[in-house]
């Protein structure tokens, strides 16, 4: 039996949200909202909390079922399966994209001339190993070990960046950007912080679903807090102009750190950050395999690993450049479709229908 505790779900959520949000969404947000990007983060944090709230309410309607099951319980067989399809598309596309973004970053910052394949393969091997041997509780325990490490890394970066801070970088507040720009800057982080939606696949494994739900929301809050402080630190140390030009502002900030002999240690930060990506990918791997197995009514979900892993690998080779993997997917699919539909629209719809159904049919 696969079980995860509420502390583990907390760290799973933190790992899933923090790592990729720090990496992928800062530039988009900075370009749109300039020095007010931190306001965007606050707004997107509120949106993410809303997503988490909807997701947990929805999941708690049928705590013994995953999304694949309860969507059919709530919406009926056909409609439910269509809904599940939209999520499957989301999961099957996010794995290769995250893999690719991860590989791009490693190649940009650590291993410039190493080809893409071995890096991707190492990560896939780790994901497969974690999902196959560790299953969900193994991933849960890994995130329990790695989560504090990632947080410690972010805290270390923030603390060591303090000497580089200049308050003038974040001023003037609001005047330069305005509501529209801030709103625009909110979308990308919100779409990544909304990953708490995956909670709907994890409820059946929770020892205590109710407690797990509240811890998941705390996890979102916690990650928003850290994304917010990291974003503020980026703005305060570098200012919106140079940061907006950079692919990975957070890591550029770590390159500025120079305290005693601690200089140019950004490689270490990247390595620790990788563990957060590893958790995210493994959770997605598990969800995708488990979801597909339930969708196709395959008994042994672990067989699906041998399907999902090659698919993820092949698709991760598809984008031809950093721009494609980073911007196109984010701005053309994730923000306009996943955020409004998969993260807010469908869960809200299912929640409303489910609640009404339960009221009418108290049995």
């Amino acid at each position: 039996m696969m079980k995860i505790s509420h502390i583990q779900i907390f760290w799973i959520i933190v790992n899933m949200e923090l790592g990729m949000t720090l990496l992928m969404t800062m530039t988009a947000s900075l370009q749109a909202a300039k020095q007010d990007a931190w306001i965007s983060i606050i707004l997107s944090g509120c949106l993410a909390l809303l997503v988490a709230l909807i997701a947990t309410r929805l999941a708690l309607l049928y705590p013994g079922q995953t999304l694949v099951q309860f969507s059919q319980t709530i919406m009926g067989k056909t409609l439910g399966r269509i809904i599940v399809m939209t999520y499957l598309i989301q999961w099957y596309t996010i794995i290769p994209i995250v893999l690719r973004q991860f590989t791009d970053l490693v190649r940009a910052l650590l291993l410039e001339t190493t080809p893409q394949m071995p890096i991707t393969l190492i990560m896939i091997a780790l994901m497969v190993y974690a999902t196959y041997a560790g299953k969900i509780q193994g991933i849960g325990r890994c995130s329990e070990m790695l989560g504090p490490l990632v947080i410690a890394m972010v805290l270390f970066v923030l603390a060591t960046s303090l000497p580089n801070i200049s308050i003038k970088n974040i001023l003037p507040v609001y005047a330069d950007s305005g509501m529209m720009s801030i709103g625009k800057g909110m979308l990308a982080p919100a779409s990544y912080l909304g990953h708490a939606i995956e909670f709907v696949m994890l409820t059946p494994f929770l020892v205590n679903a109710k407690k797990g739900a509240s811890y998941a929301i705390w996890g979102v809050f916690f990650s928003v807090l850290f994304v917010l402080s990291s974003m503020s630190a980026v703005i305060l140390t570098m200012g919106p102009e140079p940061a907006g030009f950079m692919w990975y502002p957070f890591f550029e900030m770590t390159r500025n750190i120079s305290i005693g002999f601690i200089e140019n240690w950004d490689a270490l930060v990247v390595i620790i950050w990788i563990s957060s990506v590893f958790i995210k990918l493994s959770i997605y791997m598990f969800i995708t395999c488990y979801g597909t197995a339930q969708f196709l009514q395959v008994k042994n979900w672990r067989i699906m690993i041998w399907l999902v892993a090659p698919v993820a690998f092949l698709f991760s080779l598809y984008p031809t450049s950093v721009i494609e993997s980073t911007n196109h997917y984010l701005l053309n699919y994730w923000v306009p479709i996943v955020l409004p539909v998969n993260m807010i629209g469908l869960p809200l719809l299912m929640l409303i229908v489910g609640v009404i159904k339960k009221k009418l049919n108290p049995s």
């Binding site: 910052l109 650590l110 003037p172 140079p242």
Partner: protein
């Protein structure tokens, strides 16, 4: 158990397979690297760029294998250069001469030659921004009235590698220190002036040549347009907080036969701020400067235990600082037309909506901005003597006789 471990074994074989197929793509043995300690750009007569790199010779620095203390027979660094039209091209050509691979990860300084800087530094900048190799903690310097090559080929006798000497001078706080990241951000940020320290050589004869970073190079539109002189540099650094403390001397009394009439103070604990207000659609600037000080030399007849004398000295020094600031503002507004104090940033922050309207015409507005000064200087301590040793002696002698 066997069934369970089977896929893992397969994964392991797969891993081994590609590991064996692949090599170590990015690994470089440390002794195979040409560790570049400093680099620079100059302009040649025919308009090409001359790239200069100073490469450390590890054996020359740490005495090599024998680990014998004392000066090593080998020289600790060598400097090579080549011409080309772009930075990557020069790097390529330099690489062709070298048995080792270029490695910029330990670079301490980047020196911009005077002529190159005046012609424009865009090329170098873009290359820095893109190259993952370039490190932000390196310092940027402009060579004052000379070539970068002159700086980088100089042997500095207190340190084996002259680039490290430059780095240590700036880290120690003497000299205007601008790191690579500050430099790059100032170029990108339209509100900020682009400045670097300016280095010159001092010939001390027998002792060899020494570096002195006592000027500031002023850039406008990515082109060097001039330097602040020593006095201006000190005042500017003090105002910006880059210089934490300094000494200042001035004539308090007229010189007489026994005393030169000067007083010297040590200034510390500075606090500067820029206030703006918009009056009649025009910004007005007020520069505020507060500092603490103590008297370190008093070569005049003033009795420092008397309060009014202290006030007088304070006032005199405050006036001097005000004049120095005025001079700086004048240089900025009239001579270089460069927003040295980043008035633009202050107006932007304090009056964002006014800034929105007028930022395009800022270059026209800036030279005409009226500036007020408010200087506060407190003498906190006067040292261990109340007055002046000479004057006391004189009085005593007079009393006896």
């Amino acid at each position: 158990m066997t069934k369970r471990s089977f896929p893992l074994a397969r994964a392991g074989i797969l891993m081994l397979y590609f590991i064996l197929l692949a090599g170590c793509w990015d690994s470089d043995e440390i002794e195979q690297l040409a560790i570049i300690m400093g680099s620079g750009f100059d302009l040649t007569e025919d308009g090409q760029i001359e790239g200069i790199v100073q490469i450390a010779i590890p054996a020359g620095v740490s005495g090599g294998k024998d680990n014998q203390p004392g000066p090593s027979p080998q020289q600790p660094f060598l400097t090579i250069s080549d011409n080309g039209f772009s930075a990557p091209e020069i790097i390529n050509r330099l690489q062709q001469q070298l048995s080792q691979k270029f490695f910029l990860g330990q670079r301490a300084v980047f020196v911009i030659g005077d002529a190159y800087a005046r012609a424009g530094i865009e090329q170098a900048l873009d290359w820095f921004m893109r190259s993952p190799d370039s490190r932000y903690s390196a310092y940027v310097l402009t060579a004052y009235n000379m070539k970068a090559k002159d700086i980088l080929t100089t042997q500095y006798n207190l340190e084996p590698i002259s680039s490290i000497a430059l780095k240590k001078i700036m880290k120690g706080g003497s000299g205007y220190a601008e790191t690579m990241d500050e430099f790059l951000y100032s170029v990108v940020n339209p509100d900020k002036p682009t400045l670097t320290g300016a280095v010159s050589l001092v010939d001390e004869g027998e002792a060899g040549k020494f570096f002195r970073i006592d000027r500031i190079a002023v850039y406008r539109n990515k082109k060097l347009i001039g330097f602040l002189n020593e006095r201006q540099t000190t005042m500017f650094s003090l105002f910006q907080g880059k210089l934490k403390e300094t000494n200042m001397t001035m004539q308090v009394e007229s010189k007489n036969e026994s005393l030169p009439g000067t007083t010297s103070i040590h200034i510390f604990g500075t606090d500067a701020s820029i206030h703006t207000k918009i009056e009649g659609n025009k910004p007005h600037i007020e520069l505020k400067f507060k500092a603490k000080s103590r008297i370190i030399e008093n070569l005049n007849s003033l009795d420092l235990s008397k309060d009014e004398n202290l006030r007088r000295i304070e006032q005199k020094f405050a006036d001097k600082i005000e004049h120095a600031l005025m001079e700086l503002v004048q240089v900025a507004q009239e001579q270089y037309k460069v927003d040295l104090f980043a008035f633009a940033e202050e107006v932007h922050i304090q009056h964002p909506y006014y800034w929105k309207k007028s930022k395009d015409s800022w270059t026209d507005i800036f030279p005409t901005i009226p500036v007020n000064y408010q200087i506060e200087l407190n003498i906190e301590r006067i040292g261990r003597n109340q007055g002046n040793i000479y004057t006391h002696k004189n009085q005593n002698r007079g009393g006896n006789g």
